[in-house]
Amino acid sequence: MDKSSIRKSSSNRILIGMYIFSGAFLFLAALLGLLVSSVTVPVPSIIHIILQNSIGLSWMEDIPRNLEMIIWNIRFPRVLLALFIGAALSLAGAAFQGLLRNPLADPYTIGVSSGASLGSVLVLYFQINLLGLGSFSLPVVAIIGGFVALMIVFGMTRLSNRGMAIETIILAGIIISAFIGAIVSLIIAISSQEDMRQILYWLMGSVGMRGWSHLQLFIPFFLIGAAILLLHHRELNALAMGEESAQHLGLDVKKRKIWILVGASLLTGASVAVSGSIGFVGLVIPHLVRLITGPNHRHVLPLSMLTGGAYLVLADLIARTIIAPKELPIGVITALVGAPVFAILLMRRFGRGKS
């Protein structure tokens, strides 16, 4: 008894340390994202502009209007968007990996992202302007598309398996993803060169040229989805044992599964709708986090959020400065970084397994 309480307090300390570290890492990443860019703005001005616009604190005068616009209207929302999307994708990825009991699962496995991508591609191809929403039409239609895809996956699963088994959901998701992917390829094939470039660029993912409006559209989905998932950490732990065991533990497996799927899909659909499909975030970050925290979802979920947010902010920073003034698509950076990291994780797993 004594030993376990001592163990608990020292592992508690490690965990607290992890949270503080992740939080600090996130804060520093965000700071770096704000300070460094293709256009250099003096640091005191940056701090002043942000404080002035957010809480009205002002001590400097004569900040040029265009600098204020750069920081407050362009850079700040961009960093925030990267932060939230990184958090959303990592959280959804962790939830999917726990739910599907598959280390290769990522937010795009069950087809929600395909639906969102199709929605966006349709908007780009047909130049749809929904109810005069202008450039807002794209994320709105994309979210609807993601939702529709999810419904189709659910429907397909239900028709084949009353109990909504996870394996069936995965299969249905892959089928829907493949089918929608084919439709997207079809649209790309028949679109003009200009549209094609636009579509492909969009599909590669970006958090730039978005602004506060996109962030405001994204935040509600983020909050609801994150709340759902964070509250289901116990259920995810139980499901890790297998659905039957979870049932025996007293879980209403079917209902909880659907909740978790909906929560993760909200996060994924909104992310893809706003920023395109940025890969390797939802896949790699949860694994990294689990290296330190172990499989307990109580900690994996929030820490994935923090780490994922910092990761994407830094990836975006690299994407927009490394070949400035040109910009690399952010998906390229996350893939170039994520794949080797994933390989290393894989090898470490093998190494541990052998011994």
Binding site: I74, Q193, S213, P325, K326
Partner: protein, 370 residues
Amino acid sequence: MKLQMSKFSKWASLLFVILMVVAMVAGCGNNAPEVTEPANQGGEVSAPTEKPAVEEPKAEEPKAEEPKAEEPVVQISRPASGEYGWLSNTDGQFPITIIDGSGQEITIEEKPQTIVSVQASHTEISFALGLGEQIVGVSDYCNYPEEALTKEKIGAQEMNVEKIINMMPDLALVTDYHYKNHAAILDQFKEIGINVVVINSADSFAHTYTTIQLIGGVTGTIVKADDIVIDMQQRLAEVIKKAEQVTEVAKVWVEVSPAPDIYTTGSGTFMHEMLEAVGATNAAGHLEGWNKLTEEEIVVLMPDVIVTTYGYYVENPEDGVYARTGWAEVPAIKNKRVYDVDSDTVTRSGPRLIDGVELLGQIIYPEVFK
């Protein structure tokens, strides 16, 4: 015996796996859509829009030198979306008010001292108007004239917004693409005092003339703009006149991207207009806009001349065409009449279009267009 069987089946399955992998790799090799597909780099596609309706010329320029052309001297035509209008006397005096490609009224108070251009054609036009000093930012694809390469790059379809706002130019020339997709950013520009003029993509000579005049008007160089337009119209008229001497009309097949995805320019594109001007027939004239055709469909057309525009990123495009199996009976191949032209002169809606026309004439009918 059991051991021998398992050894055999091991090798058989290994061979099977290798064959599958090879088949998959060969199949996957062609899947990636080529982003560098079309010949032009600056997103200057001539999307099939309807021909702009022609309006009566609002004669604002002092010297109305009548060219020998059939086309009137100065025309303001309405592009497919939005219109360019002149709402003030355009004798070059500021402030001037125009209606730009977004349909909004834009007033420019003073002659712009610093200009940013996000499209290669607008950059070319600006340099031709003598604005080399005023241009401070160009797109990633602006490559003509040479001086453009020395200017600061500010992105293209994806603009480096921070940079542009930091530069605070007096005037930003953007395209309808930016207006449709990033109107919020254009509003941000206007909010901090950058004049934004939306210029729609041009897909015809007439539209190019109005683009040149629009840029001339908003930069205070309308006189030079008129000169350029008149010069282009005159040279085009000469080409059309020479084309009357053509006895045997040649059928020309245009390729803007190499095999296996061969795209051509149908009606409503610059190439089509140019081919008609020099007295040739566009083999793909029955199609509208940019189209992808299969090899069979092309060979059936039996073109007399083949023109490619992708020489800047494919080595020896002519050899590639000559080497195509099954094309031996095509007249263009038999008579060795495959030529590559600089895509910028035939797809970019700027002053060099007229160079493209003359070049095409020399290629297709060398006896007539010496």
